[in-house]
Amino acid sequence: MQTRLFAAPSPHIHGGERTRQIMGDVVLALVPALLVSTYVLGWRVLMLTAVSVVSCLVFEYLIQRFLLKGRTTIGDLSAVVTGVLLAFNLPVGIPWWIVVIGALVAIGIGKMTFGGLGCNPFNPALTGRIFLLIAYPVQMTDWTTNTPDALSGSTLLANVKAGAMPLSDIDFMSMFGGHMNGSMGEIGALALILGGLYLLWRKVITWHIPVAVLGTMALFGLCVAISDGGAAMWQTPLFHILAGGALLGAIFMATDYSTSPMTHKGMLIYGVGIGAITMIIRLWGAYPEGMSFAIFIMNAATPLINKYCRPKRFGTKR
């Protein structure tokens, strides 16, 4: 064997962490929620998630291979994450072909038009979900497959907002462990929190965004409860954190690297923004849930936050 002398600028070693590994960790962190969801809602959850993941991968491959004629990067697993998150944002009764359309929008428009991984200004899964919400409002808000019994056809958030269900009737334990009313991925709070802890432990995410989002929502809820005359003092904040896509959004969607700020300070501002906008939409907006819109809006603000929230330079006061 001929000896070659290698040369490159320093550093000569690498920490070994790869993009694929990070994406794999995110997928792994989503597994508990998927299991809970499958247990509560049935096998259809797995089927739809598989459809979503496969179509995301296929669309990414096709676009990179034949439209952009470049290197294909489906090996980095980012399309898998998008696929799982997209499925998690859909009701279990949705027809499978709508999922495929959502995947096309998520990957095709949300991601590849901007240049692929890392260049997209908006979270691709959310792009797909919001498109579906506008294009197929009936199917996207049809929760009858979830639970055929009373108060069916509505999520908890919608019921509370419409005044159909007082907060004191809410079964917080089931919200924590796994309930029936919601999108596929948002119904098992404990599983989502477990996933979040795993991501924190693996240092894939930092605490800043989830805590800022959820903390703002809780504080907002508390203020609303106080202004309501002190009724449901603890129920309001807890309900808003556990209900709807709050945990899924705060832990998995808002923390998406390319669409969230780079510095810790920026992350806090971004998280507070998401929390506040979500609560405003939930309490006074037309939709019962505002998480996806809130993240979308703050995604748009991310470049601006990055511009003004510089890291603290060594040796400077600020």
């Binding site: 070659r4 002398l5 290698f6 040369a7 490159a8």
Partner: protein, 297 residues
């Protein structure tokens, strides 16, 4: 009916008022710009390459219109004729400059200048240059990662994968000078452009002693000075063990080419002189005079 009338009226009045306001605002903030700037810009190539030293063609045309003396302004891309027509248009004297072409002065192909190590960093000549000499042992030669190719806006440079060297397409080159700036080894020079893209130049920049050069590269200039001795026009100087052919003095007689022991003097689009036993100097000049005008068409 009444309501409709009111609406129409309100909007009309509002429109009229705003129109008046807009008119005055436009008057107040009007910036006079010489219309000739637009005309001159149209006469420039519009490549925004920066070869003139300005940020773009617009900045150049502003300078051309505003300055009284435009002798120092020259667009190498447009060339002498275009500059003359611009000057005529503006009623000024045109800057005169002979056409030039970028020349890459390294002849160390992969075969003649073997690689002695394997570079594994970011693929950019500038990065290589930040910390070591490059994959061959020569500290002056082409690194071959194509920073100049990326800098060229006219697609005139190409990296030849066989030789590992960058080649200039003289027809496409506009002598904008971007490559001169981009090359960290300073290998490019803007030289006089001869008809039919003929050229003679020393394809080496190594200021090392001959023995050091020949150790790492078989095609380098060893500074022997034979070319300088044979040149009838005094166009060749040898400094720091490196020969340089002054493009203004060189008459393309090609005597030096046969003298060079390493083939470091490159000729382009010309035949070498037939090898002949050394002729007396006077005769050489004479024969040169005969060849020079006859050589063209």
């Amino acid at each position: 009916m009444n309501q409709l009338l009111l609406t129409v009226l309100t909007l009309s009045v509002l429109g009229a008022v705003l129109a008046v306001v807009l008119y005055f605002v436009a008057q107040k903030f009007k910036v006079y710009e010489d219309p000739r700037i637009d005309d001159v810009e149209k006469m420039l190539p519009g490549a925004n390459c920066g070869g003139c030293g300005f940020a773009g063609c617009r900045a150049m045309s502003e300078a051309l219109v505003k300055r009284d003396n435009i002798a120092s302004l020259y667009c190498p891309v447009a060339g002498g004729d275009a500059m003359k027509s611009i000057a005529d248009f503006l009623g000024k004297t045109a800057p005169e400059k002979a056409p030039q072409v970028a020349t890459m002065r390294c002849g160390g192909t992969c075969q003649k200048r073997p690689k002695v190590n394997h570079y594994d960093g970011a693929l950019s000549c500038a990065v290589v240059n930040t910390f070591y000499v490059g994959e061959s042992g020569c500290a002056f030669g082409c690194i071959g990662y194509g920073d100049c190719v990326a800098a060229c806006k006219f697609d005139a440079l190409k990296l030849n994968p066989e030789t590992g060297l960058v080649e200039v397409d003289a027809d496409k080159c506009t002598a904008c000078g971007a490559c001169v700036k981009a090359c960290p080894k300073g290998l490019f020079e803007l030289r006089k452009k001869w008809p039919k893209n003929r050229a003679i130049y020393v394809a080496c920049r190594s200021k090392n002693k001959g023995a050091v050069v020949s150790k790492v590269c078989k095609a380098g200039c060893i500074g022997c000075g034979k070319c300088a001795k044979v040149c009838p026009f005094g166009a060749i100087t040898v400094e720091n063990f490196l020969a340089y052919i002054d493009p203004e003095k060189c008459k393309l007689c090609r005597k030096c080419v046969n003298e060079c022991p390493t083939g470091a003097i490159h000729i382009e689009n010309m035949e070498r002189l037939p090898k002949e036993p050394k002729a007396p100097a006077a005769k050489a000049v004479e024969s040169e005079k005969r060849i020079e005008p006859a050589k063209n068409e």
